[in-house]
Every structure is written in C-alpha cells, then in structure tokens.
C-alpha cells in the first residue's frame, strides 16, 4: 500500500496518472493563489455560489452535446455550459444584492440552492435517458480523477498554470483593491475592472476544478489553503506563496490517494488532505497558531507573577500564593521556609529598582512608554539606552531630594 503510494507520488505509474497528478497539483496552486484574493476581498463564499450554479450548465451542456454530437460527455460543451451558468449565478447574486434589501449571504444562499436544485432535476432527467453515456456526469458532483482523460488533465494543467501566472502578475493591483478599494478608486485605478478580473479567475478555477474536486467541495480549494496560509505569515506575498504550496500539495496528495483507492471520490481525499494541513497550521503555526498563542499567554502570566511577587517581597515579608512561591523557591530567591536568601535580596532590590525606572519612564515619557509594548515585562536595561536610563535615574534622585520621602527611595539606597 505504502509502496504503491510512493510509486504514484514519484510519477512512476504511467503517463496518464502522472498528467492527472500534475494537473491536480497545478489546479490546487491556482486555487490557492486566487483564493487568497477572494478571501481578502471578503468574497470567499461567492465561490460556493459559482460552483453550485454550474450544475444546470453542466447538464444543459450535456444535453446540447448529446443532440449535436451523439455523445453527451464532451468536455468543451460541459465547460462552456458550466461557465455560462456560473456567470449567470454571480450576476444574479449581484443583482439581488443591488436591487433588494437582502444581504450578500442570503443572496448567495438563495441562488446557490435554486441553481443546484434545477441542476439535480435536469440530472435525474438525463439519468433516465437511454443514451448510455450519462454514467460519468455525477463525477462532477464529488470529483473523480480516476475517470479523467489524458487530454482533460492536460487542459486542466495548462489553464491552471495560466490562471496562476495571471494572478501573480496582478498581485499588486489585487492587493490594493482588496485592502482599500475606495482609496484605489480615488487614485484612478479601475477598481471594477480589477474586481471583474479577480472574479473571472475565480470562475475559471471553479470550472477547471469541477472534474477533479467536484462542485460540492470545490469551495474548499479556494478557502482552506489561504486561511491555512494566514496562520503562518503577515505578508501578502508570503501568504500567496504558502497558500499556493498548500493548495498544490493537497491536490497532488489527494489525487494520489484517490488513484490508490479509486472508489473514493478525489474531491473528498483532496479536501481532507487540505484540512489536515489546515489543522496543523491552526495548532502549530509559530505566531498565530493555538499552541504558540497559549504558550505566549503562559509565559506572560509567569513573568508578571514573578515580578509582582518580587515587588511585594521588597515591601517586607509577604505571604505568597502557591505559584509564585514555587517559582521563586526554584529560582533560589526564597528558601523552603519562605525567607529571602542573600541572593534573593539582590534579585528583589534589582527588580524594585527596575520597576522604579519603568514607572519614571511612564511619567517622564508617557507616549513612548505607552507605545513600548515591553513595559514592565522585561528588565529596562534590555530595552532602553544607557543614556536614557541614566536620565531616568537622575530624575528619580532629583525627586527624592525635593520630596524627601519617596516610594522608590528604598531600593535605590540598597543599590548604592
């Protein structure tokens, strides 16, 4: 089993399988790239409307092809049909949004289900025909790379490559319109044309992906890779690359798994592969992942707890709760009976002095201190320049002279 999978993955199982794998990988890449922009333009769900809206087009394309050529399963007819009804679906969503008070999600839901319903009716009509060639049509629902012809796979590969290249060429313009369309318009950019191109590329991905992923699951191809990529980076360029890689890998692996188990629809294996990558990103991405966020939170809590415990010890013997007393005992600041050790005394006065400097910084430079997001979290000497700390120290001792008594006088004496 594993050996077979390795053979498929390393392009050793025949030209046809290789082309299908390559086409699927490129399709995933295109979906990943185009998906980033539909996600950032807040249009992720429109791809679901497009894909479901293609079903009546597929079936009508089949019927037209059947009447004209005698066989219904002619890819050009099916693609033209799905493109046209996909466009019709998008236009209808737009029209409902512009001319009624319905919000976009309701418009999408209405159009999606109506078109899909119509498509299913036409499909069962076709199933009852005695043409003999209707068998492959349901593969457009859940995707089937097993039944894919070599010519189909080649066409998918070339179209996907073209879509990817176009989207990357227009990355600057797409990014601008996604971030701030009104500003882009104020600068004279043709926002509606750029939007139209983004929509056209999305439609193209959906249409060429129907056979591989199927219209029910194809939304995953343009949503999961970009959201997984977002976990790893804050940069648009990197997000596009990671999303392209994620999409490509999912489709490549998913198609290979499907080749191994031809009974499984390839759409399902592809989506589950993408979901695995998404789950890994969600958990383990370095900055935005759940684990990283939890660890950061924990380290923040520990730092604050330690600092507050040391500061309270500075004011005299304090009864510490369990966590801080454990922390400080491990560090050797207090002994097992809760008394300060000689090393602990140094640490406590150092911390008190540090806090006094931070407090002085906050009152002398309120804005800078506010912008400084490490305020009171690390030792001030690690963050601010020596000169600035000297100035803060002078300002503290100046206050001590004028005010006589001061809260921060204690630790300062200890230091000097």
């Amino acid at each position: 089993m594993l050996h077979d999978l390795f053979e498929i993955l390393s392009f050793q199982s025949g030209y046809n399988t290789n082309v299908v794998l390559l086409g699927s990988g490129l399709l995933g890449t295109a979906g990943g790239v185009v998906g980033v922009f539909s996600l950032l333009r807040k249009r992720a769900l429109i791809s679901d409307a497009i894909s479901h809206a293609t079903l009546p087009g597929i079936t009508l394309g089949f019927l037209v092809a059947l009447a004209l050529t005698g066989t219904g399963k002619s890819l050009p007819f099916l693609m033209i049909g799905s493109t046209l009804s996909g466009i019709l679906g998008v236009l209808l969503v737009q029209w409902i949004k512009d001319n009624t008070r319905l919000p976009e999600d309701s418009a999408i839901g209405t159009v999606l289900s109506s078109f899909f319903g119509l498509g299913v009716v036409l499909m069962s009509y076709i199933q009852n025909l005695k043409s003999g060639s209707q068998a492959g049509l349901e593969s457009y629902l859940l995707g089937s790379t097993a039944s894919m012809l070599q010519s189909e796979a080649e066409m998918i590969a070339f179209s996907a490559l073209a879509i990817t290249i176009l989207a990357i060429l227009f990355m600057k313009e797409f990014g601008l319109v996604c971030f701030d369309p009104e500003y882009a318009a104020s600068r004279g950019w043709a926002v509606s044309k750029i939007d139209l191109l983004m929509m056209a590329l999305l439609l193209a991905v959906v249409v060429i992906g129907l056979k591989t992923v199927g219209l029910i699951l194809i939304i995953a191809l343009v949503i999961i890779p970009p959201v997984a990529a977002r976990f790893w980076t804050d940069r648009l360029g990197l997000m596009v690359s990671i999303s392209a890689f994620t999409g490509g890998l999912s489709c490549y692996l998913g198609a290979a798994l499907s080749a191994l188990t031809p009974d499984l629809p390839s759409g399902a294996t592809i989506v589950l592969t993408a979901t695995s990558i998404f789950t890994l990103s969600l958990l383990f991405a370095p900055k935005r992942g759940i684990v990283a966020v939890a660890l950061r939170q924990l380290s923040f809590r520990l730092k604050i707890t330690r600092r507050r415990a040391l500061l309270s010890l500075d004011k005299g013997p304090a009864s510490l709760t369990l966590l801080p007393s454990l922390l400080l005992r491990r560090e050797g600041v207090i002994n097992s009976s809760g008394e300060l050790t000689s090393q602990g005394k140094k640490v406590v006065s150092l911390m008190a002095h540090d806090q006094a400097l931070w407090n002085q910084y906050l009152s002398d430079y309120p804005e800078e201190a506010f912008a400084q997001n490490k305020w009171s979290l690390v030792m001030i000497t690690d963050v601010l320049s020596f000169d600035l700390i000297k100035e803060l120290e002078n300002s503290i001792s100046g206050q001590n002279l004028s005010a006589g008594q001061n809260l921060v006088s204690g630790p300062l004496k200890d230091i000097s």
């Binding site: 950032l40 971030f179 912008a371």
Partner: protein, 270 residues
C-alpha cells in the same frame, strides 16, 4: 447679515477665472443615499492654498461631500472641477486619507506596505515594487514619525499610528490637493501633533487640504478656512468670517449651548 450670507453662496460659474484656478470648484452638487438627500445644492470654491475645515453636525453630509468630490459615489447633480478639469483627469494631483474604520486592519500588510500603495501610481500597472520604492515609502513614514514601525503588521499598531500610516500613504503621492476624512478622531496626542505638523508643511508648500473635522473647539486653531455644512451649505470662507455664532447656530441648531457658541466664536476671531 442676510445679504452677507447670500454673498457666501454666490452663483459662481465654473468657467470663471477663479474657478479654473481653484484646486476644487463645485457647482450645485447634490447627493442622496437611499432616496434621502444628504448633500443639497452645494457650491464651493476652495482657496488656492490653505487648510479648509469641513464642519457640521452628525449626518450633515461631510464625508459624503468628500466622497462625491472625489467621484467615489454617484451624484444626483452638480459639476466638480479640480484645477479647472474634471476630477477623473486630475487624479494624480489628489491625495486622499480615508476614515480609519474603512479598512480591515487584519490585512496581511506592514505599515511600509500600506505607504508603498501611495506610490503604485508611479510604479504603474503590472510593474513590480522595487527597493527604491520601499526606500521612498520609508522616508514618508519617517515624516510622520513612524519609521520605527515600518515592519509592524498594521493591525498591531495603535489607532493613532494607523492614522499616521494613512497620512504617510497620502503624502507619498506628492499631490496638490488633499482630502482627509476625520484624521483627528480617536488619536493620541503624538499623532495629533504629527498630523498638525504635516498640515502646516503642506500649507507652507502652497497645497490645499480639505479636511472633515469633528471638533469645533480645535477647528479655528488648526485651519484657516471653513466650510460649514448641514446638508445645505451654511457658510464658507476664511475662518474668522465664517465661524460666527449665526452660522454655527444655523448649522447646529439647538445642539450647541449658547455658552459653547460664544467661546468658539471668540477663538475663531482671535
């Protein structure tokens, strides 16, 4: 008084010499949202240089006025020219600082990326952004005191810092006429000072800034011209002449207490 008010809305034709020279000349502008007129029959000629505050109560159509002047929303009627030509032909001369709330700050972009957008016009269609563009963008971030935050993701900035990023993006265009939509709302003192500095510099360079401003107290300090709006234009002109208690009363009605009014007018005439 009535004669004076009428004189403030003269029926200037856009073909007049003054209108042709003006950074912005508007004649009979009306805009509606959902069958409700928001701006009604507004005519306005911006001074050749200087800082213009657009003030008026909530819902007076201040932001709508700016967006319509920029050609971002459809208008019911009216003519708009920028230096004597239609807005669409003069986009290169116009800078725009939108309201901070108008974009998604979780967008994957750094402060520098956003400022670089101000240079996209110069970069051109399909051309990549080069190091020199990044350098240039950084110099504009520096002008608003944000160079240290160039690499920060924009969502990690404070509200005032985000506003300064928007300002730097507009500066990067090197425009002659700037529109700003409430840049002072919800910002910290450092940002307020940075914006005022930028406004002063723009004024010294002979540029025109048209700025929606919420705070009547500070308007006379920061700006030297005013356009007072309440759906219809109430008054426009140099600050001292425009910020009169009659005009403010007409725009704000009972929303301003008499004591507030006299204080404002005293500030404006100083």
């Amino acid at each position: 008084m009535i004669a004076k008010l009428l004189k403030l809305q003269p029926n200037k034709s856009l073909t007049s010499e003054e209108a042709k020279r003006a950074p912005l000349a508007i004649e009979g502008l009306s805009v509606s949202y959902h069958h409700k007129p928001v701006v009604w029959d507004l005519s306005f000629v911006a001074p050749e240089k200087g800082l213009v505050a657009v003030v008026g109560p909530n819902g007076a159509g201040k932001s709508t006025f700016i967006k319509a002047a920029l050609g971002l929303i459809p208008k019911l009627s009216g003519e708009i020219t920028v230096y004597g030509k239609p807005v669409d032909q003069q986009r290169k001369l116009i800078g725009y600082v939108p309201q901070r709330g108008s974009v998604d700050w979780d967008f994957p972009a750094s402060a520098l990326d956003v400022v670089t957008m101000g240079l996209y016009g110069k970069v051109g269609w399909l051309r990549p952004i080069r190091k020199s563009h990044k350098q240039e963008a950084l110099s504009y971030l520096d002008k608003v005191g944000m160079a240290d935050f160039a690499d920060r993701q924009i969502g990690q900035l404070s509200g005032g810092q985000q506003q300064r990023v928007f300002l730097a993006r507009a500066l990067a265009q090197d425009a002659l006429l700037y529109f700003m939509d409430e840049p002072f709302v919800g910002v910290d003192a450092a940002t307020e000072r940075a914006i005022i500095n930028v406004l002063k510099k723009l004024k010294d360079q002979g540029k025109t800034v048209i700025c929606v401003h919420h705070d009547l107290q500070s308007a006379p300090d920061y700006f030297d011209h005013a356009l007072i709006l309440n759906v219809r234009p109430v008054a426009s002109g140099p600050m001292a002449e425009t910020f009169t208690s009659e005009n403010l009363q007409r725009a704000y009605g009972g929303r301003l207490a008499p004591s507030e009014l006299s204080g404002l007018v005293a500030m404006a005439s100083e």
